[in-house]
Symmetry: C2
Subunit: 182 residues, 2 copies
Amino acid sequence: MAVDRDHVLRSAAALLTRKSTATMDEVARAAGISRATLHRHFAGRDALVRALEEHGIAECEAALDAARLDEGSASDAVHRLVREIEPVAGLLAFLYGENELWEDGGGDSWSRLDLRIASVFVRGQQNGEFRIDLSPVWLTEALYGLVASCAWAAQAGRVAPKDFTHMITELLLGGALRREES
Amino acid sequence: MAVDRDHVLRSAAALLTRKSTATMDEVARAAGISRATLHRHFAGRDALVRALEEHGIAECEAALDAARLDEGSASDAVHRLVREIEPVAGLLAFLYGENELWEDGGGDSWSRLDLRIASVFVRGQQNGEFRIDLSPVWLTEALYGLVASCAWAAQAGRVAPKDFTHMITELLLGGALRREES
DNA sequence: CTCGTGTGAGACAAGAATGTCTCACACGAG
DNA sequence: CTCGTGTGAGACATTCTTGTCTCACACGAG
């Protein structure tokens, strides 16, 4: 009978992404529980958002670990990264849009994630895989943006969720231009 | 002595992008006016957000007009599009993150914008400029995502605003991979 | 069955945000 | 100068949200 904390957090992220001013009552109903129960698990709105942040960070770190970013070519690493991120894309999209979190502490965790992702692009540039006129910081931000866009578009039914990895990696790595070679 | 409506809307967008739960009082102070004056110009929070949406749509339509999307190659059209969008990127980023707008009416205006942008990608695919395994819908969404990412990153000082057009168009069209040719 | 745990529903007060109002004041036009 | 307009500051009631509490009930373990 215990509430599924993970399910609550995912529902909250999905709802708050669409409607950032949603009340605790709306969050509770979206998760299929009562406001009282939501309050039993999260002291308040702040606590909920902070839990959302911590949960998102933990999931992303796990995804980065699973992606083994240091192995193989940088391109393959990006592929694995996007594939591992897909399950938590909704969470990441919410957190990425919630810029206020980055200001009041907790930014260290995000910096660490940023650094790990950016290092893949650095590696790709150093070994000649990636072009050097686009900074690793920008490529990292762009990855976030594409993941969030794809998550939102999929949630809205505008794109097929099954193409998540393909759409993001192909665009991020290869761009929209048609290539004669390869 | 009249309040600069455009300035108020831009301030509001910039603030609400960072802190979506900001109070009317905070919005007013961010714009350098009193809450009373803000209320004289926008009946309430809903009215403010709706005005923000209408203003954003109008600016984007103007940007699309100025970009002359039907002329020249599709690549050049995308370049012009991004360049014209830059001044309203902050506004667009806010509206893109505020998905709740798309649900309760007004979605028609956005659909029209979507269609105009997507048609550029359709044209590019038809004349062989763009690859056909990435749908125009996705490319449109990706463009939004990249514009929003770049606007946020620039606002946070993580990337140089002057590279706005270059970073977005190069990544969107060419991707991150290094190319031997050309 | 009986008990303990966890939940839903709802009441309640405290607090915050909103919307409206009044008043004083600065400014420009005449 | 005098007037009209638009603004800032603040008071005020209303509404919404929040946080806490109580009570009844469903469920599983024993």
